[in-house]
């Protein structure tokens, strides 16, 4: 999601509420002998407000389960709320805790909350930057889930191209020192390049390979084209290079896509931990 002008009302609203919360907390803290505590009625009110905002932020994932409930409003609006109200919740929790770390449980809650916020902000930055990078770096973008299937397809196509290259007739073989660069010798080089480098790369573009570097790959293809014996199959080599480029872009897409979503592996579990520890904190605080 891009932070664009449509976020302005949310930013202004959240900022105003945050300032009001901080200001009222400052004033109430001065009015209360000994200062406010999280357990005082006012402190609890701040805690409840912060918890409610967190629950709202957490409902975003629940919303995905009920896409038919359109009466809940557009998902974009929920996303904006998720971002700005969860940041606002931290302000309320700060007031609730009276700017203290508290005991061990509260300290754990703080760390988890900070973790949730940091991973969320990190994710927001990634969501902001990576789609633009995808547009620039991966013009041949494909559905992410299709990438392995497409790679197999590309390999199959490449296999056919290489096989067909052998059937192209070559000039009479020469038994000169150029034997490795003419006729079957050159095709053998093409086959070797394909078997050793291109095919493994197409099957698993994410694994380490010299072809991950497009400059080196381009040089390798140029070298093949320069072989006298491969002049008749240059068209085949061009097709192979095109397939390589497709595979390389799919690999780049996979890599960027992983970055785009991997932060959720921390964000969601931390949110779950925040929920469990928050409930425990509330129960124990109200019990005693």
């Amino acid at each position: 999601m891009l932070i664009d002008s449509s976020h302005r009302p949310w930013i202004i609203g959240a900022s105003v509420v945050a300032l009001a919360a901080l200001g009222s907390h400052w004033w109430l803290d001065r009015q209360t002998p000994g200062g406010l505590t999280g357990g005082s009625p006012i402190g609890v009110a701040y805690g409840l407000a912060g918890a409610a905002l967190m629950v709202y932020a957490g409902l975003l994932s629940a919303l995905r389960k009920v896409p038919a409930w359109t009466w809940l409003g557009p998902r974009k609006r929920w996303m904006r709320g998720h971002i700005w109200l969860s940041l606002l919740s931290a302000v309320f929790i700060l007031c609730h805790a009276n700017y203290r770390w508290g005991g061990w449980l509260e300290l754990a809650l703080w760390l988890v909350l900070i973790g949730v916020l940091v991973t969320g902000i990190f994710g927001l930055l990634l969501q902001h930057l990576i789609p633009r990078m995808l547009t620039v770096r991966v013009p041949r973008e494909a559905p992410y889930e299709q990438i392995p299937y497409l790679c197999k397809n590309l390999t199959r196509q490449a296999d056919e191209i290489v096989v067909s290259a052998w059937s192209v007739s070559s000039p009479e073989q020469e038994t000169s020192i150029l034997v490795t660069q003419m006729g079957p010798g050159a095709k053998a080089q093409l086959q070797d390049f394909y078997d050793q480098r291109l095919r493994p790369y197409l099957l698993a573009p994410g694994l380490p390979s010299p072809l991950r570097n497009p400059m080196k790959a381009r040089a390798a293809f140029s070298r093949l084209r320069a072989l006298p014996g491969l002049v008749p199959v240059r068209e085949h080599i061009d097709k192979l290079e095109d397939i390589y480029e497709e595979g390389r872009q799919l690999a780049e897409q996979e890599r960027l896509h992983r970055w785009l979503h991997v932060w959720l592996l921390a964000h969601i579990p931390l949110s779950v931990a925040l929920l469990v520890l928050g409930v425990l904190h509330a129960v124990m605080s109200l019990y005693y």
Binding site: V44, W104, A142, E145, L264, I268, P269, V276, L277, Y288
Partner: protein, 444 residues
């Protein structure tokens, strides 16, 4: 730029049409980790909850040092379940989760003032779980009432509009009245005693300072009571001079030694008895003293008095004569007891003088605490104008403005109410501990 290898017209050739039905690895990992974290949190919470001795984890802060032994026994103080929730309900006058009855198991906490209209709950002032002393009570708890104090009897109070020490604390009670002088009866001149050329014991030049006489008590809070024996005797011994015609050097030496030994600083009857005994012992030791009576100045009458009749030269008569002389020096002489003490006009039937009680006040500010050691960096005269005091009636205590120089803006010394005042009136403390050690430990 679309891929030339993926013609949209042949979509089914290069696209798996059921791909969305297959599990997605990233999403699977996401939920797997979330479930593991959830279960781990629940397991840790459960383990912590059921393993005894781990209540510390739930505390918002450590308890005060004095309650350390109850750190893991929440129920000792938190006697009601969900008291934290109940106090949020409207209509609760004491929004605290620990009832006073829990505190009164071990503490008394007598009331503050009999005219008070409101008694706060213990825990509203003494905040636990802050890791600090429970005696750190915020000013707001005091000014909650004292900013607009109401009394049961409806009478006005001099303490009814106090919001802070620096702003509107009234002048100290000592200075709010008519300015009564120091009620002490011991004639004392601070100015004289602080002179630079004072003569000390043996006539040596001496420079006294305040701490020569005013010595810290063991807590270094206040000063030890002043006493003649500790503070005055060295320079003002109660010595006497025997009368007689001292021709024999040995006798003269004995008389001088007798005189140098100070008389006790006690009631006149005791002083006279002690002198009598000492004189009798002296006469017994030096019988020749009886022969020194002739021509002694002691036989000279005071102006307007009849001369005493001559007694036979017996030990008893010598002792009586010397006793009369020495007690006269002490009781009637200008350098005797009345040099410092106020003597009454009427004598006792035994003819002895009566002196007014010294009435030296130990504490001037009865409703406040003070710690001299905390103010040791300051010269005493910054608060006590002793160098200018020449009379006993001078009150040398500071006024509130003296304190406000440091305890108030722009200086930053504390102005907390509890630094000087206590809430509970311990005269009404009726708590008597009845627990056995075993009972106490079971409660723990």
């Amino acid at each position: 730029m679309p891929s030339p290898l993926r013609d949209p017209k042949s979509l089914p050739d290069w696209l798996e049409l059921d791909y969305y039905q297959r599990p997605r690895p990233l999403r699977r990992w996401k939920w797997l980790i979330a479930v593991v974290v959830f279960l781990a949190c629940v397991a840790i919470v459960g383990a912590v909850f059921f393993v005894p001795g781990n209540r510390l984890l739930y505390q918002a802060g450590p308890v005060s040092p004095v309650h350390n032994m109850f750190n893991n026994e929440c129920g000792v103080c938190h006697t009601d379940s969900f008291a934290g929730a109940k106090r949020l309900l409207p209509g609760d006058a004491h929004p605290v989760s620990v009832p006073d009855s829990a505190c009164s198991q071990c503490h008394s906490g007598p009331w503050h003032q009999e005219q008070q209209t409101f008694t706060p709950a213990c825990a509203s002032c003494h905040r636990e779980h802050r890791g600090e002393s429970l005696l750190h009570v915020a000013d707001g708890h005091c000014t909650n009432c004292h900013a607009d104090l109401k009394r049961k009897d409806g009478q006005p109070s001099p303490f009814q509009n106090i919001t802070s020490f620096a702003k509107d604390h009234p002048e100290f009670a000592l200075w709010r009245g008519t300015g009564a002088p120091d009620p002490g009866t011991i004639r004392f001149n601070h100015q004289l005693h602080l002179k630079a050329d004072l003569r000390g014991p043996g006539g040596k030049p001496t420079q006294l300072d305040c701490l020569n006489c005013h010595r810290y008590d063991e807590q270094r809070q206040y000063f030890q009571p002043l006493s003649y024996e500790k503070n005055c005797k060295e320079c003002h011994p109660l010595s006497v001079t025997l009368s007689g015609d001292w021709k024999d050097d040995q006798l003269k030496q004995a008389a001088q030694t007798f005189g140098q030994e100070a008389a006790p600083h006690r009631e006149p009857a005791i002083v006279r008895s002690v002198l009598h005994d000492r004189l009798a012992q002296l006469a017994e030791k030096y019988p020749a003293l009886l022969d020194t009576r002739q021509g002694t100045s002691a036989t000279r009458p005071f102006p307007g008095k009849r001369p005493p009749e001559a007694d036979p030269a017996t030990t008893a008569s010598w002792v009586n004569e010397q006793l009369q002389t020495t007690t006269r020096q002490l009781f009637d002489g200008a350098a005797g007891c009345r040099y410092c003490h106020q003597v009454s006009q009427v004598r006792t039937p035994a003819g002895l003088p009566e002196y007014a009680p010294s009435a030296i006040r130990q504490r001037w500010f009865a409703h406040a605490r003070f710690r001299h050691d905390s103010h040791r960096q300051l010269a005493c005269v910054e608060c006590h104008a002793a160098p200018g005091s020449a009379t006993t009636g001078d009150v040398l205590m500071p006024k509130i403005d003296t304190c406000k120089q440091c305890h108030g803006p722009p200086a930053v010394a504390s102005t907390a109410c509890v630094h000087c005042h206590g809430y509970h009136d311990w005269k009404h403390d009726g708590y008597r501990g009845k627990m056995t050690i075993q009972e106490f430990l079971r409660k723990k």
